[in-house]
Symmetry: C2
Subunit: 290 residues, 2 copies
């Protein structure tokens, strides 16, 4: 097999094709995450790259991060009406002027369908989900690791505040150790999300003050440090908006998220583009010799 793992540019910024050697590393990371998660009863779900627009509106994503959201539009006309637009498709004209927004948007994070699926439940015990999805964010820059289309693996839990706090603390430590075991020298930082519009700074300050988000950051290029994973609590936000409870109170949630491409890019930066030349121990750890 060709062992050059470098992503292939597509001409669209932040959108790449991934060769077999890259995917082998991704598979190794998935297996590593699954091994860490083996001692908790996670329900595994594969999540598609689109989600109900109403769900994201309800979740507050639209209000908070409109600049990152991709909405899905389609052509509502008849074949006869299309006759007028069809010639524009051949000549680079605005054939798309009649496109209408639909009921779906691009998924910005893997956990949203899970939170929405809890609507109406009283959680007698904590629930746990292990999900992966191809996510989309309309990023304006495209330095290494800043992709518009990327894959996110997430471990998600919902339950009481006490459970979520302890769970996030345990996973923050575990993921830090795992990344250190991959020799990626992660730094752990209190972080915030890129809220948009009025109140953004206030939200970010509150998020930092309450330590809702920790990022694990590693080097992806010379002097270029990016978050490759995060461990987060959302307090009662999703319990309130989707209507689920734990112990009679609005349910709380926590998650730990893994940027599969970013971790792989960090390994590529550390050890070079050819996985065949990576250290034996790392190759074994990622299952590359199978």
């Amino acid at each position: 097999m060709n062992d050059d793992a470098r992503p292939l540019p597509t001409g669209a910024s932040g959108v790449y094709l991934y060769p077999a050697a890259f995917e082998q590393v991704v598979a190794g990371l998935r297996a590593g995450i699954a091994a860490m998660a083996a001692d908790e009863p996670f329900q595994r779900l594969a999540v598609p790259p689109v989600i109900s627009r109403a769900t994201l509106e309800r979740a507050g994503y639209v209000a908070s991060f409109p600049q990152l959201l991709g909405t899905v539009h389609s052509y509502p006309g008849t074949p006869a009406q299309w006759a007028e637009l069809a010639p524009l498709a051949a000549t680079g004209g605005d054939w798309h002027r009649e496109q209408r927004i639909g009921d779906l948007v691009l998924l910005p994070a893997a956990c949203y369908p899970v939170h929405a699926s809890l609507a109406g439940r009283e959680l007698a015990e904590p629930v746990r989900f292990a999900v992966e999805a191809s996510c989309f964010r309309q990023e304006l820059t495209s330095e290494t690791g800043r992709m518009r289309s990327f894959r996110m693996a997430e471990l998600v839990t919902a339950g009481t505040e006490e459970h979520c706090l302890a769970w996030r603390e345990r996973w923050l430590e575990r993921v830090t150790d795992w990344l250190a075991g991959l020799e990626l020298k992660p730094s752990v930082e209190v972080a915030d999300d890129p809220f948009f519009g009025r109140g953004a700074r206030l939200y970010q300050a509150a998020q930092r003050m309450q330590q809702l988000k920790f990022e694990l950051r590693v080097e992806l290029g010379e002097g270029l440090v990016q978050a490759v994973a995060s461990a987060n609590i959302h307090k009662e936000h999703f319990g309130e908006v989707f209507g689920f409870t734990a112990g009679g109170e609005p349910g709380q949630t926590a998650c730990t998220a893994f940027g599969l491409e970013r971790i792989t890019l960090a390994l590529l930066h550390a050890h070079g583009p050819r996985t065949g030349e990576w250290p034996d121990g790392l190759r074994a750890q990622l299952g590359l010799d199978r």
Copy 2:
């Protein structure tokens, strides 16, 4: 592991979450396709669910299938401008009235980025790619197997007409045998694509007359037969639009496509929702006992 493989509805038509037992079957199908492909030098690529809009315009997809295309739009305004729309996001209003079409669309079939990547090349030898992607089509109905978001595995080749004809013939036979080996009793049918607008019937008749597309159809529900795979030639279409050649002529292309969810749904229909109760031989063939 819970062995109930049934997809979980999300509330959005044609969009599902997939449990671990379903994904195990998908993994078995992937391995089966890879095993069939092992005697040809396929280059494996993971393909993201979005693609350059210009590429699909150039490929003729917009002109032929505008009714199925999902275009990706985003908010181009400033945080200050958003202040006017933000309240609408909370109240179900048209916060999306300023969304603008961007440079990406949702990928409708896994092979497009591959065809586009050949631009400018003279193919001295045939090239072969094995790809998988999450695809999107704005389907108007949602009977079993009719999804808007679904995964497609494809084997793609490009070269001379002679090569493509022989390759498609061999793969049509191979895939028919493979599906029969999964006891799915495929029927092989000359088929056409859902062209839209003026000329649609003419295109479809020409496509059938030249036998460009063969579908492999199996039962997914009582009396519900759907195509689960196809074997296609596109003649010099992609060679002409993207500008690659083989033997000095516009390059020709062929592909065989696998609907991973549809094949799995056909197995669920044939053997029931619990994969633990499937016949031993089938379980072994799909690697479900590992």
